[in-house]
């Protein structure tokens, strides 16, 4: 029995492993015609009964988008995307909605239950408020009343536009302008739903707020928009999860997330990204082209991004921090796993503008199968950012010999007092490590889990408890036996 053969067998076993969330809910869907033009944008805006200023914002974005080209600088092979072949708005039709508006269609309830997201408040043990979004609309936001007592606003983006237009107008596009990049411009033109969250001055949000995104309908794109505003001295921890059915075609997900942290405020944003990654030959899967950015506007404010990226066929994503307020802090903790034919180009940007600003970047990439995994990060210290500090560490772990790991760090320093540190390591899960575990009676599968858990522990520990457990399981499923 040659060992190579045995390894191959193990790899085959993994490749047979199924994406757990790949089911499709058979529910009637209201769709607009496919394709993209000004009429479509007006239609989306009309569907949501939006005010004129928002329609103007959309049209301005669309016109700008037309002048732009898809970014080609990432270390990704992206097939041509036909933007006229995508449906930009699809909403599940809720049958019971007409009789009692607060009731959710049982079919939808079942879908989210199957995904482990109960939408009834009494069933949620962990004190997590959820905004559940399917395709282009928010299905339900839980715990709204409890939160409202503290003055916290947590609702779907569409609702925020209706109920709190001034707040939305004040902040929308201030962190990620519509002209920022190709996908942000596209999102600004056609975004459908997402979450809005406002934490008033001096309030510490007592529960985790979360949005769960689900793509269900075929041939649609999901373009959600999330806006989080933390006023002076407030705190919020925000979670984001996502899944999609298994399909042979690629589906586009181009989201924008904006975070504003005012003086002494702190926002913790955690993502467990589990979009359908495509099959083992690289067919299908989600194109995940996302712009996430936060600004530490006030002094002593802090924004921290934690992401566990296991899904998507292609990931293009750089959650970033603009450190404008003096003494503000930005953090980025990431685990990005790619297997089979997945491609990821992900990292962060830390822009130091204020004095004494600090940023920390810890990125852990894991590549297996035939996948390509790149870290791309920019640390920029502007002229007035005296005593700015950055520490970056980028680790890559390789499994097998057909995958790739790449690191692209960019450092731009315009202030002499800055201290910037960068460390990078690349390691391979070694046969000798596996054998050492085997010799102690630990199977190869368990050994890989042990090693991967050890490697990612530092990041996983940053996640809220329930998410950490989920993330760990997800890593195991993604990498099961992928040692070569």
């Amino acid at each position: 029995m040659s060992d190579k053969k045995e390894n191959n067998n193990i790899i085959n076993e993994v490749t047979a492993g199924q994406y757990k969330y790949g089911f499709y809910t058979d529910i009637e869907s209201e769709r607009i015609p496919k394709g993209l033009n000004e009429d479509i944008i007006k239609l989306i805006s009309a569907k949501k009964s939006e005010p004129d200023w928002l329609l103007e914002f959309r049209l301005k974005s669309y016109r700008h988008w037309l002048t732009m080209e898809m970014p080609r600088w990432a270390n990704l092979v992206i097939p041509e995307i036909d933007y006229q072949d995508i449906t930009y708005y699809a909403a599940p039709v809720q049958k019971s909605k007409k009789d009692s508006p607060d009731e959710i269609d049982p079919e939808l309830k079942k879908t989210f239950e199957k995904l482990g997201i109960p939408l009834e408040e009494q069933k949620i043990l962990s004190g997590v408020a959820v905004d559940a979004v399917m395709d282009s609309v928010s299905v339900k936001t839980t715990f709204r009343e409890t939160l409202a007592e503290l003055g916290i606003i947590f609702c779907s983006f569409s609702e925020a536009v209706r109920e709190y237009p001034d707040l939305v107008r004040k902040y929308l596009g201030t962190v990620v302008p519509y002209s920022d990049n190709f996908f942000a411009a596209l999102n600004s033109a056609v975004f459908s739903d997402g979450s809005f969250c406002y934490i008033p001055k001096g309030v510490r949000c007592p529960m985790e707020l979360s949005t769960y995104f689900r793509i269900n309908a075929a041939k649609t794109g999901q373009f959600e928009r999330t806006l989080i505003v933390a006023d002076d001295e407030s705190y919020v921890s925000y979670l984001e999860g996502c899944t999609a059915p298994m399909r042979d075609e690629n589906q586009l997900h181009a989201a924008v997330v904006e975070i504003i942290a005012e003086k002494d405020a702190e926002v913790k944003y955690s993502t467990v990204q589990n979009w359908y990654p495509g099959d083992h030959e690289g067919r299908g899967g989600i194109f995940n082209f996302v712009t996430k950015r936060g600004i530490c506007r006030g002094e002593n404010s802090k924004i921290s991004w934690t992401q566990v990226e296991t899904g998507s066929a292609i990931t293009w994503k750089y959650p970033s921090c603009i450190l404008k307020g003096d003494n503000s802090t930005g953090e980025f903790y990431s685990v990005a796993v790619t297997n089979h034919f997945q491609q990821a180009d992900t990292g962060t940007k830390m822009i130091h503008i204020g004095k004494n600003t600090k940023s920390t970047i810890v990125s852990k990439g894991i590549s297996a199968g035939n996948s390509q995994n790149s870290y791309r990060g920019l640390v920029k210290i502007l002229k007035n950012a005296s005593n700015a500090r950055n520490f970056s560490r980028c680790d890559s772990l390789l499994m097998g010999d057909k995958c790739g790991a790449h690191t692209f760090p960019y450092i731009e320093v315009e202030n002499q007092t800055a201290i910037v540190e960068h460390e990078a390591t690349t390691s391979k899960v070694g046969e000798d490590q596996i054998f050492y575990c085997n010799q102690r009676g630990i199977s190869t599968e368990d050994a890989v889990n042990l090693i991967v858990n050890g490697y990612t522990r530092e990041i996983i520990n940053k996640l809220p408890m329930e998410f950490a457990v989920e993330a760990q399981k997800l890593l195991q499923i993604t990498l099961e036996g992928s040692i070569g």
């Binding site: 000798d432 102690r440 009676g441 042990l450």
Partner: protein
């Protein structure tokens, strides 16, 4: 317990073990000595099931079973322990977590419930005391940043935790100062029972001042060329491996 007959093995197409026969009985300590490159480590690797060596001929029976058909982890679960010459670092995996996984795998194999966290920590404390391990190795990652001596002591500690039936110590003594050497020897002596056995592989005689072997084998060029009692080790220390070389060449075995 272990019966080896005419074992031949190659590494990278080159024959390293050229017909080894050996029998180890319960309660015995065997020492295998030999110069560098004689095949000592390959021998240990073959018994533990490491894949870089390919067995081309011969049989190995362990507790009546065909050892060569078993995977490395099956061998471990059946009670074979290898003390590594170069213990591997596994960053991020704490000693506690690693050993807990290993101990509970063994328990599962024996049909026992996993140990509770408190029972496990108690066991760790006991065994640390038994082998005289004072440092806080269990809070650190497996072998990461350990000194040479610490790594070897850690192997003995793991052996104490897993209580193997057959332990093979592959040059556990090399590069150790006298105190660490004593920890290693002490571990073996304390763990010795009428129903287990040890194969101590060493280049030097000095470990055998502290571990008294029942049988000493001299491995030379892939063959066991001499087998005798403890006195063989002492003679070897005095005369050096040149003596073996001459003996072998004069006898025309080659």
């Amino acid at each position: 317990m272990l019966v080896i007959k005419n074992l031949r093995a190659t590494v990278g197409g080159r024959e390293i073990l050229k017909g080894i026969s050996l029998e180890v009985k319960e309660g015995e300590i065997h020492a295998i000595m030999g110069p560098n490159g004689s095949g000592k480590s390959t021998f240990a690797a073959v018994i533990a099931g490491r894949n870089y060596a390919t067995v081309t001929e011969g049989t190995v029976k362990y507790m009546g079973k065909n050892l060569l058909e078993m995977t490395p982890e099956e061998r471990a679960l059946e009670g074979i322990f290898l003390g590594f010459q170069y213990p591997v670092e596994i960053p991020g995996v704490s000693m506690t977590n690693f050993l807990k996984t290993a101990v509970n795998e063994q328990r599962k194999h024996k049909g026992l419930e996993p140990l509770s966290a408190s029972d496990f920590l108690k066991l760790m404390r006991e065994k640390k005391e038994l082998v005289g391990l004072d440092s806080k190795l269990d809070n650190r990652s497996v072998n990461e940043g350990f000194s040479g001596g610490e790594k070897k002591k850690n192997e003995i500690f793991q052996m104490a935790m897993l209580e193997p039936r057959l332990a093979i110590l592959d040059e556990t003594d090399s590069g150790l100062d006298i105190d660490a050497l004593k920890v290693v020897a002490n571990g073996v002596n304390k763990l010795r029972r009428p129903d287990n056995a040890f194969i101590v592989i060493t280049h030097y005689q000095r470990l055998l001042d502290y571990i008294i072997p029942d049988v000493v084998h001299v491995l030379y060029d892939g063959r066991i060329v001499m087998t005798s009692g403890r006195e063989l080790a002492i003679e070897l220390e005095k005369k050096g491996y040149e003596w073996i070389k001459n003996e072998v060449e004069n006898s025309g075995i080659k």
